[in-house]
């Protein structure tokens, strides 16, 4: 039976799950959740995700939420090498850089994406440039760490691609759509690494889904 993903592909958190499903070749169905009609706050959706967010995943009787937890489940269920669970040390490194993605990359990026792409386009609002600048500074410090890391290994967790790298792609894709994409020119290894991730067939496929749902 196909797994169901609740949410729309244009959401970075939904896209994260979709890329994992594509990587393992799983059968799945995307069930949209309409934010415009507050469907995400409906009793039906909050019974799947008590915080009223997307994505949620249904696999038979199992219902999960939180994209990184869902991603781990999908990869683990299909014995994917993207978690490196056969190696205590390698899997720990994957965990480290997945935490880094979550706390040092996604956090400032979420603000930048909201201010530069969501607020003006969907809410007719004005970008707060001061807030954007503060978060670009945080992002710059993160990229400095990444640039150094990527001088020591091909990918974040080691010389192997992992969930830690893939988890960055939806947000990185949107960064390239903001006026601040040029920041990546300051970090050539980071830029090359992002380009490599965005070229993966599974990622290309999900990007098409993200564009179609926007």
């Amino acid at each position: 039976m196909a797994m169901k993903v609740f949410g729309q592909p244009m959401s970075t958190n939904v896209a994260r799950v979709l890329v994992c499903l594509e990587e393992v070749g799983a059968k799945y169905e995307v069930v949209p959740v309409d934010f415009a009609t507050a469907e995400h706050k409906s009793p039906e959706h909050t019974s799947r995700n008590p915080f009223g967010q997307v994505p949620a995943l249904q696999d038979g009787d199992l219902v999960l939420f939180e994209s990184r937890a869902i991603s781990r489940y999908v990869l683990r269920k299909n014995s994917s090498e993207l978690l490196k669970e056969g190696s205590l040390a390698d899997s720990a490194r994957v965990d480290v850089w997945l935490e880094v993605e979550s706390h040092h990359f996604d956090r400032p990026m979420a603000v930048i994406i909201y201010q530069c792409l969501v607020l003006p386009v969907y809410f007719g609002g004005k970008t707060d440039e001061k807030v954007v600048e503060e978060n670009l500074e945080t992002l710059r410090k993160t990229f400095q760490v990444y640039e150094d890391r990527l001088s020591r290994s091909t990918y974040l967790a080691g010389d192997f691609i992992s969930l830690a790298d893939l988890s960055h792609f939806p947000t990185a894709y949107y960064l390239l759509a903001t006026p601040h994409a040029g920041m990546l020119d300051e970090f050539p290894r980071v830029k090359a690494w992002i380009d490599g991730v965005l070229a993966r067939p599974a990622v290309v496929k999900v990007i098409e889904m993200m564009k179609a749902s926007a």
Binding site: P50, F51, L62, L64, F65, E66, R68, A69, I70, R72, Y73, R76, K77, L88, A89, S91, A92, R93, D95, V96, L98, E99, V100, S102, H103, H104, K141, V145, D148, R149
Partner: protein
């Protein structure tokens, strides 16, 4: 202490406390190596070599260096075969480990962002002499945390622990920040919710948690 692992940081940090609780639960041989935060030792070259973001904790097991408390905690529990604390009731229990992962993410994305702001304003800033409380920030985050705890109250009416029947790292990772909250007037956020209160008391009763609590400044034990 050959073969033992090292944690770099101070027990007063809720993130360090999470790692210490996991090490105690695992019965591991470990050493807590102090990092002098007041002297900004966390920004020194030798600490940045372990944690490039200049935060605590950092962790060493022989040649392996890790940072980010939740990643370290997972490593510790795997290394010492405490897969039960990662949600696995039996070998390769996919559903159990998935539920533990879900609620560990909830702690990271819903609970800690709200509670850390309250604890920083009400407790930490005073401790480190960084100025007075910003009540507006406190009020905003008290409201935020209240909504999160409403979801917890509902969840904990369905099972004893967040992931289900058994305690997991998802529960344990709440200890540090909650410890500090309970010493403020905002302890009522927990006290006023019967299931959350009972869950917190179950956590506090654990020998591993008691051991780490004894290392932490201030705080108040309930009951």
């Amino acid at each position: 202490m050959a073969g033992g692992v090292k944690v770099y940081g101070v027990a007063a940090s809720p993130f360090v406390a999470t790692v210490l609780v996991c090490l105690e639960e695992a019965g591991a041989d470990y050493e807590l190596v102090a990092v002098d935060m007041a002297a900004r030792e966390n920004r020194s070259q030798h600490h940045l070599a372990r944690n490039p973001f200049g935060k605590i904790p950092a962790f060493e097991d022989g040649e392996l260096t890790l940072f980010e408390s939740r990643a370290i905690s997972r490593y510790v529990l795997r290394k010492y075969s405490r897969m039960d604390l990662l949600g696995e009731e039996g070998d390769g229990d996919l559903e159990g480990s998935a539920m533990a992962d879900v609620w560990a993410e909830v702690e990271a994305h819903q609970y800690s962002p709200a509670i850390s702001n309250i604890v920083r304003e009400c407790v930490i800033k005073q401790m480190i002499g960084a100025g007075g409380r910003n009540q507006a920030v406190v009020d905003e985050n008290v409201e935020r945390l209240g909504k999160v705890l409403d979801a917890y109250e509902q969840r904990l009416s369905e099972s004893e622990y967040l992931a289900g029947r058994l305690v997991t790292v998802a529960d344990l990772s709440h200890f540090g920040f909650t410890w500090f909250l309970m010493a403020t007037e905002y302890a009522s956020l927990v006290e006023s919710r019967a299931n959350v209160k009972a869950w917190w008391e179950r956590l506090l009763a654990r020998p591993a948690v008691k051991k780490v609590a004894a290392l932490m400044p201030g705080g108040v034990t309930t009951g």
